[in-house]
């Protein structure tokens, strides 16, 4: 049951609802705001569609992979590693002398 004070608060309109979508999906709305948002959705097919589209957008974005990007060239990375090891060994030796 909502506290009396909140029940008298103004209703959410569509233009506000679209700004609450991410906070809603992220679980960042207060309980009272979540109820107001959900109450609006229950009576508004357009905002319900809008929320569904935001969910679909997130899902589709998750399926986007880059066009054929090259994989790692293993030899290059092994070279990188060995150069770093060699540098490190050099530094250690310098320390020893200094």
């Amino acid at each position: 049951m909502l506290p009396k004070l909140l029940r008298t608060r103004r209703e959410v309109v569509c233009q506000q609802a679209v700004e609450l979508v991410t906070d809603y999906l992220e679980g960042a709305l207060s309980r009272a705001d979540r109820r107001r948002f959900e109450k609006h959705l229950a009576g508004c097919p357009h905002c319900t569609e809008y929320l569904a589209q935001m969910r679909a957008t997130i899902e589709l974005t998750g399926t986007v992979t880059a066009e054929d990007l090259p994989g790692p060239v293993q030899d290059e990375f092994i070279d990188l590693y060995r150069r770093w090891r060699a540098d490190q060994a050099g530094e250690t030796q310098d320390d020893g002398r200094g």
Binding site: V13, C14, Q15, Q16, V18, E19, V21, T22, D23, E26, A28, H46, C47, E49, Y50, A52, Q53, M54, A56, T57, I58, L60, T61, G62, T63, V64, T65, A66, E67, L69, P70, G71, P72, Q74, E76, F77, I78, L80, Y81, R82, W84, R85
Partner: protein, 198 residues
């Protein structure tokens, strides 16, 4: 917190295990390259950024304290290097500037829809050519202002949690949500514009 799947590899890498480095590179290379591509003009430059990042990882390995996951740490180094290398002239939108999720002209004076969202989900699900959809989304992601693109890429493509994204980009939870909201809203609009039917 869950066990970091990379922690053991990092331990072996510290102990001088070359193979551990190879495994770590293989595990993260694709995501790092994708991310780097968002900042620099070519894949070749992105590859350099990734290599440079790994060198930074090796040099900084002694200082890594495990307060964040290894992946978060890798991505943070990458983003910092890619930003410096990129310095690509891009549109940047200050977080304080208002940026409505939907064009205000689509609402009437009372804030109710005047031009409601056109339908496109069914289209995307059924008839749409997957390659065309991916292409359109990719270019819409590329058109996002930098900060929005960073957050959307890390959250919705690479699957990082909001905590991880805040840590990689060194931003607050609230700013992360604002950027995510704006980025996702722009992508939704791009899909509606391309595929919507009134």
């Amino acid at each position: 917190m869950d066990q970091d799947p990379d922690a053991e590899l990092l331990g072996r890498l510290r102990a001088g295990d070359e193979q551990a480095f190879v495994v770590l590179v293989r595990r993260h290379h694709d995501a790092m390259l994708r991310l780097a591509c968002g900042y620099v003009p070519s894949v070749a430059v992105a590859e350099e950024v990734v290599q440079d990042t790994w060198l930074g990882v090796l040099r900084g390995i002694g200082g890594f304290e495990g307060r964040s996951s290894v992946r978060t740490w890798l991505f943070r180094i990458l983003v910092n290097r890619a930003r410096t290398t990129g310095a690509r002239e891009r549109r940047s939108v200050a977080i304080g500037d208002p940026e409505p999720a939907v064009d205000p002209s689509r609402f009437d004076d009372t804030g109710h829809w005047a031009a409601p969202p056109e339908r496109w989900i069914e289209e995307a699900d059924s008839r749409l050519d997957a390659a065309k959809l991916a292409g359109r989304l990719r270019s819409a992601i590329g058109d996002l202002p930098d900060r929005q693109r960073e957050v959307v890429t890390l959250r919705d493509i690479e699957g990082l949690s909001s905590d991880e994204v805040c840590s990689v980009l060194e931003i607050s939870e609230a700013n992360q949500r604002v950027l995510l909201h704006r980025g996702r809203s722009r992508l939704r609009q791009a899909l509606e514009t391309e595929f919507g039917r009134a």
